[in-house]
């Protein structure tokens, strides 16, 4: 083969490569890319152009530019196989689309990006991850744990000395209380307490890591697993559909199972894993957090949304969504530069964390767009919180290079009702309200007109 032939063969090799390969300048400008990259990126561009990777991925991986500019070493992996969620998917029709993205710094001028569609892989991994969490809970760190027996409503029904050892509570402070006793005030809701019991019934277990409290008010990082103690399925199946009941338990047996409030129905195990928190939190930050703001990233947000929607379907309850957008953020970036814009977004994130509850999911879902999912919060509570947040942002100037910058936010609020079957529909409502807030002059909170005809508008 002569050189021309060989060159052609190499060209075709790149044309045919089943993964996306892109060469970039350090500010994201695309220098070379193969067709599969273009196929993956084209649907994400607003103008159909393929000029700058950071711009193209701005809506779905808004912290990428920041990560790349913060990367100090002369070469090395900036991110490796990071999952970028493209959309929410359509339940039962299409899985949420996810891209895998790696970014390698070659030198001070150039970077390489690798892209591939990992939608199916992510779905498989999610199932595996749950199994792994379960084994992890059983096999590691069994040095000390509190063993807590709960009744059907989530109340502690028996004393066990391990509870005192791990949490410091005395018998009379705990027995008869909901297990939220061990959670900080705003870290769970009554709905959520029952959700976890339902999920334990449905999946065989329910697990969550997070802050727990001791009797003296101090916090520790705990891992909690709830496991059902009896097979409730057999009873509920029989109640729901007698056609399934080949061996039907007696009516009395079912009644005693469902109605005896004192009986132990679940086992809750809380382990103090404060010493492992750094490691698990690091992993969570890497996979679930926006690098610039530390808030949840799009992927974590859509996962949380999907879970809340499943809970809503099982037991309809209050669930609200807030979407907010920084007013004229482009102007700030143009006038003060990206670094100032970044500082501003970090400050805004702090205001959000200060305003909303621990149980709320606060996420950066676009360049200057944020979303807050509020479980068990109706429209009034959501609007109240949104308005407090808007005022807090409005009142505070962010200092960048000694110069105070003031920004405002526009906010759209929507709440779930029985008409909405998809999370995307709730997003649309909140988005329309956000758009209305922008059109009405910005710096205000607008409530989605549906489902309540008399929507309130709080003006700034």
């Amino acid at each position: 083969m002569d050189i021309a032939e060989e060159y052609e063969a190499l060209t075709q090799f790149l044309y045919l490569a089943p993964v996306g390969i892109v060469q970039l300048s350090t500010d994201g400008e695309i220098l070379l890319l193969n067709p599969i990259s273009s196929q993956l990126l084209m649907p994400l561009t607003r103008d159909g152009g393929l000029a700058n990777l950071f711009t193209i991925l701005g809506d779905v991986a808004p912290d990428l530019r920041y990560q790349a500019t913060q990367f100090a070493p002369p070469q090395g992996m900036i991110c490796d196989g990071v999952r970028v969620q493209i959309d929410a998917g359509v339940r039962g029709v299409r899985d949420p689309r996810v891209l895998s993205l790696s970014l390698l710094k070659l030198d001070n001028e150039r970077m390489m990006a690798l892209l591939s569609d990992v939608t199916t892989q992510v779905k498989r991994e999610r199932m595996l991850r749950q199994n792994e969490a379960w084994f992890n809970a059983i096999l590691t760190g069994i040095a000390d744990y509190a063993l807590i027996s709960l009744d059907a409503t989530g109340r502690v029904n028996e004393w066990n000395p391990s509870i005192g050892r791990v949490t410091g509570f005395a018998r009379e402070q705990v027995v008869g209380q909901l297990y939220s006793r061990f959670y900080p005030d705003d870290a769970t809701t009554h709905d959520r307490i029952l959700d976890r019991l339902h999920e334990a019934d449905a999946n065989g277990w329910s697990m969550d890591d997070g802050w727990r409290v001791k009797s003296d008010g101090t916090r520790f990082w705990g891992s909690a697993v709830i496991v059902p103690l009896v097979d409730r399925d057999a009873a509920t199946r029989t109640l729901a559909g007698p056609e399934l009941g080949a061996s039907v338990p007696s009516v009395e047996a079912i009644a005693s199972l469902l109605e005896s409030p004192d009986e132990s129905r679940y086992c809750l195990i809380i382990r103090d894993i404060t010493d492992k928190r750094e490691a698990t939190e690091q992993y969570r930050r890497d996979t679930q957090c926006d690098h610039l703001t530390g808030l949840a990233n799009r992927r974590a947000f859509f996962e949380a949304a999907e879970l809340e929607l499943a809970r809503f379907r099982r037991t309809p309850r209050r669930l609200s969504l807030i979407l907010l957008d920084v007013d004229d953020f482009k102007g700030v970036n143009d006038r003060y530069g990206h670094a100032a814009g970044d500082a501003l977004l970090q400050r805004l994130a702090a205001v959000l964390v200060g305003t909303f509850r621990q149980v709320d999911t606060i996420a950066r879902v676009g360049g200057e767009e944020f979303a807050v999912l509020l479980p068990s919060a109706g429209i009034d509570a959501a609007c109240g919180a949104a308005e407090r947040m808007r005022l807090a942002v409005d009142a505070e100037a962010v200092e960048v290079d000694g110069e105070p910058i003031r920004v405002t936010v526009s906010v759209g609020v929507a709440t779930m009702d029985g008409d909405l079957m998809e999370f995307g529909a709730l997003m649309k409502r909140a988005d329309s309200a956000l758009y209305a807030a922008k059109s009405a002059g910005r710096n205000r909170v607008v409530v989605s007109a549906q489902p309540l005809a008399a929507a309130a508008t709080a003006q700034g």
Binding site: Q12, Y15, L32, P35, Q39, G49
Partner: protein, 128 residues
Amino acid sequence: MVDTLPFTEPEIHGVLDSMRDADLDSLGFGVIGFDANQLVVRYNAVESSLAGLSAHRVMGQPLFTTVAQCMNNFMVAQRFDDALAEGRALDATIDYVLTLRMRPQKVKLRLLASPTGAHRYVLVLRAG
């Protein structure tokens, strides 16, 4: 004569069908013709030099899965599928970005299909 055939010529589909390969080569834009099975059957010199591939590497290959993966989407491949499914002609010109020799290149694509024609075509004109 043939080199004056403009990219925007209204009745271009019939003209292309009747042209010999050598004449296709003298056009001012890229021509990719493909058959009912989406296999490439015509590939002119302009397209060959834009893509950096000789015709023999491309002829007989599936267009959207092998030769031009970056057109395998709702903007290009889907429109051919839709036209075929609905049994109607397609003549659409769109602004597009191709990865020619791994460089993003702005182009105009003209998509041609007819229920009666033997071949369907993608025409590629470099923009700017």
